[in-house]
């Protein structure tokens, strides 16, 4: 039921990026997403009460979702540098979804992680954290946009 208005070309773009590199370099690409994840803005730093914990991740990860007046979704993540895989997942989701409309975010396929070709490199168990992060983002968007 993906309406054309809700399509998000970034998803295919990111999946294409991962597909384009040989398997051996895919983790390196994930690391780049980890490195690019920005720090929390001041209003969230040191305020764990404002963030939602994604308990399904192997390492604690916290996220916040905002929907601005124009309906744009903004994502904020907090994950330690010692957990680059979890940070990398957050970086991908931010690159894929930040700034889009609520409808576009909600139209993201729940199994988007399967398109990244990381299953055998990262393991299905670790990828569950990615899916959980996406599900929690969508739930927050639904709550904020309604």
């Amino acid at each position: 039921m993906t309406a054309p208005a809700a399509s998000n070309p970034r998803l295919a773009q990111i999946a294409g990026e991962f597909a384009a590199v040989p398997e051996g370099d895919r983790l390196q690409l994930l690391l780049e997403y980890s490195d690019e994840l920005p720090d929390l803005p001041e209003r969230y730093a040191g305020r764990p009460d404002l963030l939602e914990q994604v308990t399904e991740c192997q390492t604690p990860l916290f996220l916040a979702v905002e929907v601005d007046e124009a309906g744009g979704v903004h994502l904020f993540f907090d994950a330690p540098r010692e957990s680059p895989t979890t940070r990398g997942f957050a970086g991908i989701l931010r690159a894929a979804l930040d700034g889009l409309s609520a409808g576009q975010v909600l139209a993201t396929p729940p199994d988007f992680s399967a398109k990244l070709g990381l299953r055998d490199l990262v393991s299905p168990l670790r990828l569950r954290g990615f899916d959980a992060m996406l599900a929690r983002i969508k739930r927050q968007v639904r709550e904020r946009a309604s």
Binding site: L27, Q28, L30, L31, S34, Q53, T55, E56, C57, Q58, T59, P60, R81, E82, S83, P84, T85, T86, G88, D120, L121, V122, S123, L125, R126, R128, G129, A132
Partner: protein, 293 residues
């Protein structure tokens, strides 16, 4: 043994001092022929962010496990893996990793199933190496393939299976999970993903000694006297006991297995790697909830 043991006096107290090396020993021996250093982490990308110069990566999910059967790789698979990492049968293998060497101990335990003659842990692991300001690099070593023979896995000495645990009830068992998992309040580690156990609690008779109690603040193993206080005095385990340790999938309990078998010298210690993800899903096996063993 290819490389000399670390003469660090702290290790001399342990039953098998040669199973540990210090960060200083490793720094002094890096690059020597016959030594391979391998990093084994919980996070599959941590190695890529920087590792000990020359270290190879060994991942538990993607390399030590068989991709289809719930089991470890077989003799041929292990030989292929070791060869690709530049490890031969007479290599001194030093393992280290994140989280108090949790996964490094697990990798060492798997190496034990194949009887690798000389595998050691870096005391304090990755965190201590970094805390001491020692170098990390991101370049992967160009490991030249080595010859590793096909050695069949020996599951009889260091590994226990579910039916063996059933037959062991009444004898010493150590549950190394968090207290919440042990009592049955939690079905998974605090802050970790649910890994699918239908029932909560512990195996009847198991004492609860969370694995990380064996580690000091800096991630090194506690001195022998402190370990004796925990495992002998508190848990009541005697060195000639037949002990089985378990956790959720056998990784945290590998750390305790290492402590009991190598640091305290217990003669018979087995790791039940099926652990709670098997026991808590098995039909008809006895389970106890609450705080008492």
């Amino acid at each position: 043994m290819t490389l000399p043991p670390d003469p660090d006096p702290k290790f001399a107290e342990y039953a098998r001092p040669e199973m540990l090396v210090s960060t200083r020993w490793l720094a002094d021996h890096l690059g020597e022929p016959g030594l391979v250093v391998a990093e084994s982490d919980e996070d599959v990308l941590l190695y890529e962010t920087g590792h000990i110069p020359g270290a190879v990566k060994l991942d538990w999910h993607t390399e030590l496990n068989d991709p289809v059967t719930r089991d470890y790789v077989d003799g041929a698979g292990f030989a292929r893996l070791m060869s690709a990492k530049g490890i031969s049968r007479d290599t001194t293998l030093v393992l280290y990793g994140d989280k108090n060497n949790w996964w490094a101990a697990y990798a060492l335990w798997v190496c034990t199933l194949f009887g690798h003659p000389d595998a050691r842990l870096l005391d304090g692991g990755r965190a201590k190496w970094i805390a001491e300001g020692r170098p990390l690099v991101t370049e992967r070593p160009a490991a030249a393939a080595a010859d590793y023979p096909v050695v069949e896995r020996d599951d009889t000495r260091a590994r226990a299976f579910r039916d063996q645990v059933l037959g062991h009830l009444g004898r010493p068992l150590v549950d190394v999970r968090s207290p919440g998992e042990y009592t049955g309040e939690l079905l998974h580690m605090p802050d970790y993903p649910q890994e699918g156990a239908l029932r909560g609690g512990h195996i009847p008779g198991a004492v609860n000694i969370p694995w990380a109690r064996a580690a000091a603040e800096d991630g090194t193993f506690r001195p022998r006297a402190e370990l004796e206080a925990i495992y002998r005095e508190e848990a009541g385990l005697e060195p000639d006991d037949d002990v089985i340790v378990y956790c959720r999938i056998g990784e945290r309990s590998s750390h305790t297995w290492f402590v009991l078998a190598h640091l305290l010298g217990y003669a018979r210690v087995r790791n039940y790697d099926g652990s709670w993800t098997e026991w808590g899903n098995s039909v008809g096996v006895p389970i106890r909830r609450g705080e008492s063993p």
